[in-house]
Symmetry: C2
Subunit: 230 residues, 2 copies
DNA sequence: TAGATTGTTAATCGATTAACAATC
DNA sequence: TAGATTGTTAATCGATTAACAATC
């Protein structure tokens, strides 16, 4: 089979991409246990996924397995990391040193995910100049210039919703190409840029709804105990 | 049309549930601007979603709109919150006062999401007894008993992967019915319990992959560098 | 070898989007 | 009224799962 480059056209589905980190996580556990090869059915069983789905997901990384045997654990981990670009470090700026920003600054495993937070920014004077988890907090108006000079590609946005777009604009002007957005607001960026918006509460909505279901306390709006025709 | 209670059978898709918080968020903004009614096309435009999809999502809450007019902003917000159970407070325990746990303890808006963290737990002696964002940290071995006595229904799991299952078991024994799991590990729970596992890095994997794409540095494993045009 | 597992194509399933009648 | 918008059914799209030949 010919070498295939994942070019502009054939984009991998977000659903597959989102599962790759959990494969990697589990493979690391297996690796720590000294397991040298692993099959899709084994992975699927541990992660409660269909083995065919696992196989297709892994295939996007370009890994080739051996029939009857499976995949080499080591090679598989490397294929995932290489596919995601996690084996070489991207510099990142973080803006907004609130609770979420502080948590991310304190996370010391980012280097295993190809990410190095090289500076933190805020516009709160009482934070500027302070060191948070070893990162000095800089003034927001240094962001654009510094991003451009350091060729920073990744911006982490942990500001309140109202500030999201204006800070994103600063990042864009500074040449940042990908924004990891934790603000609960959609942001506009030019064509060709990457935005990944995380909403903590989207997952919580699923939990809330399922809990209401199992507790049997779910009623639709406006529905009274008896009949609600109209 | 008959009144319909969303009972055990007809479960709403997770995809729809995950979008409800962003509708709510945007509706709050509109409400703050004094807007009294809103149409699906308006919401869809702001959030970049198909209007029919918005309509279907909102329909799960039981809200009824008026043709040619739309939905009452106020009523729509309430319908979403009521559907998700966010209008009455659930008590929650948080276990694992690391960076993520601390961030969540510091988030003061949970009461708008129907959640009140009433206690924090850790097994680190240097943390026990301390106050973190106003929450005293208790010893882990008090969890099960206290959960049962206080009838706590929600557990927030912010511990390392290795500890996830054993702490989850403590929660289960204490009668907790829903676990919001931030540990990068799948956990096993009995039938009828709710688990919502969040993986911060699943979103980051999407970002990483898209960034590698737009930067043109994506190669599949085993593919050599040469024929990588465009 | 026989059987387990891969890689891949086909079938199924579910979610999204389009179409359209009802309606204020 | 005319036209915009809802509610709902039908069509489309994409992701998941099943089937199966190739293979070590």
């Amino acid at each position: 089979m010919m070498a295939s480059v994942t070019g502009t056209g054939e984009s991998v589905s977000a659903a597959s991409l989102r599962r790759l980190p959990s494969y990697r996580q589990y493979l690391k556990v297996l690796q720590g246990m000294g397991r040298e090869v692993v099959s899709c059915s084994h992975i699927g069983q541990a992660l409660k996924l269909n083995p065919t789905q696992v196989r297709k997901d892994l295939a996007v990384t370009g890994i080739v397995g051996r029939p009857k045997v499976g995949y080499e654990t080591e090679a598989l981990i490397e294929a995932i990391e290489s596919f995601l670009g996690w084996n070489n470090l991207n510099q990142a700026f973080l803006v907004g040193v609130g609770s979420m920003g502080t948590a991310l600054l304190g996370y010391d495993q980012f280097n295993h995910y190809g990410l190095k937070i090289v500076a933190a920014f805020d516009n709160n004077p009482s934070l500027i100049g302070q060191k948070i988890h070893g990162h000095e907090v800089l003034s927001l108006d240094k962001l654009t210039d510094l991003a451009a000079r350091m060729h920073v590609l990744v911006g982490i946005l942990t500001v309140p919703a109202q500030a999201a777009q204006s800070v994103a604009n600063l990042m864009i002007f500074g040449g940042i190409r990908a924004i990891w957005n934790f603000a609960p607001a959609p942001i506009e960026v030019p064509e060709g840029m990457v935005v990944q918006t995380e909403d903590l509460f989207s997952g919580f909505a699923v939990l809330s709804s399922r809990l209401a279901e199992v507790m049997g306390i779910r009623r639709k709006a406006g529905v009274n105990a008896d009949a609600n025709r109209r």
